[in-house]
Assembly symmetry: C7
Homo-oligomer: 262 residues x 7
């Protein structure tokens, strides 16, 4: 997105609408999301699935420190895409809200309630000056009263509920894949397979188990559970998506912390 | 609306009048409203009707998460058009005010009172710097002492009372339709029919029940009631407005969260 | 008023005088007043008269929601012209001050006292940065100790007392009419007639009763009283000012909320 | 005063000195004073005289509402020139200070003390950002311990003591007249005559009693006393300064509230 | 001093250093000092002398209101040059500090202590944004423990101690004169004579007693004492510096309040 | 990195995203890190190693004052690169947090916990206006529950965990060296050797013991321990990396305090 | 240092990094330091030496008021270079901290501790907007637990420890001299001689005793002691550095208060 002369007149802050009613800074924050590697959410009748691209810049970096799936509460997981440090702020905010809810009402926070708390917080950063919007999108997934729920928050602070979605790099291509293959009555297993296939569809149909993260929350045991390397390998093998070892692990998208290594 | 050189000199914030006494940022916020899908309100002698266009960007998105009709209190509903995250703030504000009124005076808040509380809040964002106006318009509909009331709030913070109105995309075309067909002595049923016909008038005279939302508040049972899919289908069939299944559901207007999927 | 290059150097805020000692933002706020439909005040020996142009944009809009005459206290009415949402703020401020005066001193507030409270409040918005001036003028009319009083507030925060005045669109033409026809010793009836004739003088000498508002405060019964449709019709008929039904009701001036319906 | 390119670089606020050590915004505020109609002060051995030009824009405006002479305390009067709403703020400030002095010390405030309180207040608006200077000059006149005192405050916040002075439009021409004709040992009567003659000297040597205001504070009865129409007429007749009735009352200078009646 | 293009890039406020480490706004404030009429301080073994140029703009202005010598405490006098209203703020600050010192420690404040309090206050206005520097220099003179002290404060907030100095217009020429003629072991009388001769040296070697102010603080009676007109005349006559009556009293420098009388 | 015209439009502060979703000020802060001399961290199975380049500008400067390795807690060391004064702020922050943790929970703070506290603090300086990001990167190394941990914080506020890493000048070249030679199962000794060899690889394969700093935290005795000059010499000799005495000690990178000695 | 076009884009405040990671305002503040006359510190085994250039602008100025050596505590002296008023603020800050330390812990503050308190304070002025950096460098010298310590603070807020150093004008030339002649095992006498010779090296190898200040803090009597004129003369004579009387005392560098005497 190249800023035209006209656009530049209105894109220096969140307190200014453009003549056609747009908030450019919020739109630019969406671009920051696209710079991040992809995250995917799939809702099945048996639970929700989160799958993330967590490729790293160097073999010496600990993959576990590439935080893309976070636990907000036992029954709620959050996957992010975009500015990593911003994501951490929102996830801290979500965790605090979940704890407060637990303390105040003696029950686990609802997925929708939590999502809306977070989006209200995000919205503040799009209307009152002196700060910038959050350059991050979240997928908030969980099970609430036995029902799987799957939400998105975007930099404008709008909450959306989805059956399946992608955020971050290649989000449109992945969404097309999901639209073509999604079935509401999938099992959780099928959901994991769909998520991995969708992610692989923009990666030459091949993934290495280390470079991805997968977590599920099952309706009958609503606890966020990350898949082990072995489990991920099995899924990939079963679908013929397992990458060769020498596969070049190079991320198209760059998370926030990526330096331009000159 | 293209910003001319002259206009650009005065449109960077709400603390600056243009030489001809205009507040460009408020006018640009009205453009943000026009970017949203349409919402319609109709007042009949038996109650008020809210009808909204809630088309979605992807078949995987949950329609229920496209929030266009909100409950402010049992007897008051609010339909919005424009920046979704902004709408959520105003609706929260309205709900809180309704609750406070209930607690403080032991009675339900009046529709006009509530509207003016909201518009006073909106006005603050058009005079004191450091923020931007709300990029959203609301239709506040309710029954007050047995009388149906129908109000509009706009980004300047001005309250208007209407017999029937439209906000958002195609608002002028829809208003023309309403002006041509509105009768003060309609039944609530006729009100629903009018609202749907008006909405269809800018959609090739065809609507699918899923892509719209309809709610009513009846004088004799003043509780906000949303119509079921079946009820909406019946109304549309009766009027010959029911769209074929393969109808391309593409929104002309884009709500706030719409990305430009390049 | 077109902003010249020279002018543009000094018109971006209220904290800057121009080299010739002008405050452009206050002058631009006066332009906002001229964009509003006209309001007229006439002081007679029997009381004061307020007459306002309240044409509406659509037949579906409730005329009663076009707020142009407001009650500040039983014995004081306020007519406004200009930015509607701004007017509401000033009127709320005036009402609160009237109530506080009643509570604190056990007596009704004086018209001059109230006017000066309001203008002091307006002045703050012309000297200290971070906000814009109020884009509205008020006519504050009332009876105080048996004496009719008629005041104007303008966006600079200056109070004026008048025998008869107009604010808003066509204010100069209406004032000329008033200067030519005003008599200090008129009855209240004659005052109403003068106000309507003055308003009609800039409307092809024809008015429809619905499109105007008239209120009086009589010396011998100092309570703000709005004229009924029948009463207005009678006055207009008596003066031959009654418009035909098919009269095109189109306002030259646009109140704040008017959209440019493209 | 036309702002040169060089000047424009330093005249946008009070927190910036120009390279030659000037504060342009304070100088521009002095221009605002010159836009106001003239006020004159004369000190005699018997007391002080204030005379003001109070021409009005329309015969329907109440002359009494053209506030140019104000009572700060029984023994102190203030005449203003320039931005009317600003003058009101300073006069309120002076009145409050006079009352506080009375309450705190049980005695009437001194003229010099009051003047310096006011100028200290004015100075704040010339050094700390976020506001503009006061666009008004004051003549503060009074009798203190049997001694007549006559002070000026200007927009920089500097107090001056004078034997006779003028502020506002034509101030230099009037001052020349005063310098030529002032005698320290005048009676109060002679002081009034001098003030009126000085004012008339820039008005074709003719004044109408309604268009001027005159007040005196006598040493032997130190109470601000405004002259009646009859008294003013007598003075003018005695000096041959009485204007014919048809005199065109048009103010060269424009007080703050003057609109450009296009 | 003409602001070059390069200079203009760095001279808009006190929070910006220029590339060569200068604070232009402080330098411009020094120019404001030069716009003021001169003040002179001389330290002798018998006490300190302050002499000031207090020419006035109009014969009607009270010379006593041209405040150039101020009493900070019985034993400390302050002469100023530059922006008069700013000087008043600093002198008030100094007086308050002197009183607080008296109250808190039961003894008169020291001259150096007082000077440093004032310069610390001045420094704040050169580092933290939102205000401008003080456009004034002070000579703080006094006797402390039997020792005469003579200090200068400048707009940067730096304190200097002098044997003899000048501030304001022609300060360099007067300083040269002082450097050529100053003797440390002068009597107070000789100090007065030196100060007047130095002042006269930039005024065609002639002064009128009314247009100057002189004050002394003697070691053996440390109280600020202003010379009477007769005393000043005697000094001037003795030195052959007395101006003829018709001398044109026109100040080269202009104090802050000087208008450009067009 | 040269700022293009396009880039300059968006790089003046942290509250503005560029059209492609970048935060230029954070990227520029990363450049400030690269201006600092290199720091290296290596994690072995026996503990963690920190090695820093601490060349000095003058032989008269105390090497010990070139602070590059800091103790956050007994078991946690921090090496920095970039703006030295900024580093000191973050290290103070880390120390305080470590102490608070000790006091509040009675146990030593975890390495990851501490890192995330610090990055959360850094993030605040990248979103809310009125300040700039921290121009420094940190390596936070420690032993936690017997496990060696090695983290990086960057100016965006993102935490990363590494097996081995470099920050500051030549960071990419050093990282390449580390990637080529790192073994997870090294001894602490081998870790020191690797770190020194990596540092030497960008310094003509020669280092002098005075110009480097090395510290270790061993798993079996988790206390930050700095190597003595003798120990460093031994390591360098063993690897043939010891520089000749006459080696020119000139830093390619310049820490914050470096002046351009012209 | 001439600000290039590119540089000017990033040098208007401390909240902006340049694309290559520099903080221009901090660099410009270093230029302000260079504008000040030189100060020198030398650490010997017997104590520390401070030597300063205190030439004055006029023979009438009291040399004692050219504050270049300050006492922070009995055992700690501070020499400054650069903006004098800024130096006073930091020295006040240091003194207060020293007193607080004494009160709180019952012992004298350490030299390093005090230095770091001061640099932390300085750093705040380089990161948070609304102010400018301090335009001053300090040499903080003292004896702590019998050990002589010598520190520098610079405008970035970085503390350095030195064996010998110079700040202010000609700092690089003086440092070269010090590097060539410094011996760690000097006596205090030799330290004074070295400091004076270094200062003379940039002044045609000649100094007058009045134009310099010298102070020492001995290990065996750790109290800041200023040398008398006689002592300074002896040192200069012994080294053949004593200037002739007619030596032109003209400072190359200009302290903050220097006016451009046109």
């Amino acid at each position: 997105m190249q800023g035209s002369q006209q656009q530049q007149a209105y894109d220096r802050g969140i307190t200014i609408f453009s003549p056609d009613g747009r908030l450019y800074q919020v739109e630019y924050a969406r671009e920051a999301v696209k710079r991040g590697t992809a995250s995917i959410g799939v809702r099945t009748s048996e639970g929700v699935v989160l799958a993330v691209d967590k490729r790293i810049r160097s073999p010496l970096m600990e993959r576990s420190s590439v935080e893309k799936i976070h636990k907000a509460d036992d029954h709620i997981g959050i996957a992010s895409a975009g500015h990593v440090a911003d994501a951490r702020q929102l996830i801290d905010y979500a965790r605090q809200h979940a704890q407060i809810n637990q303390l105040r009402y003696g029950e686990a926070v609802g997925v929708e309630t939590l999502t809306k708390e977070v989006t209200d917080y995000i919205q503040q950063y799009t209307q009152v000056g002196g700060a910038r919007p959050f350059g991050v999108a979240l997928i908030i997934a969980g099970v609430e009263d036995g029902v799987p729920r799957l939400y998105e928050t975007d930099p404008s602070g709008t909450p959306y509920e989805w059956q399946a979605l992608a955020i971050g790099a290649d989000r449109n291509d992945i969404r097309s894949y999901l639209e073509d293959h999604y079935e509401a009555e999938m099992s959780l297993d099928e959901g994991v397979t769909l998520a991995l296939a969708a992610l692989a569809s923009v990666n030459d149909d091949a993934l290495s188990p280390e470079s991805i993260g997968v977590a599920t929350i099952a309706v009958d045991d609503p606890v966020l559970t990350e898949l082990s390397e072995a489990e991920k390998t099995t899924y990939l093998e079963d679908e013929g998506l397992l990458a060769d070892d020498e596969d070049d692990e190079e991320s198209d998208a760059e998370e926030d912390g990526d330096e331009d290594d000159e």
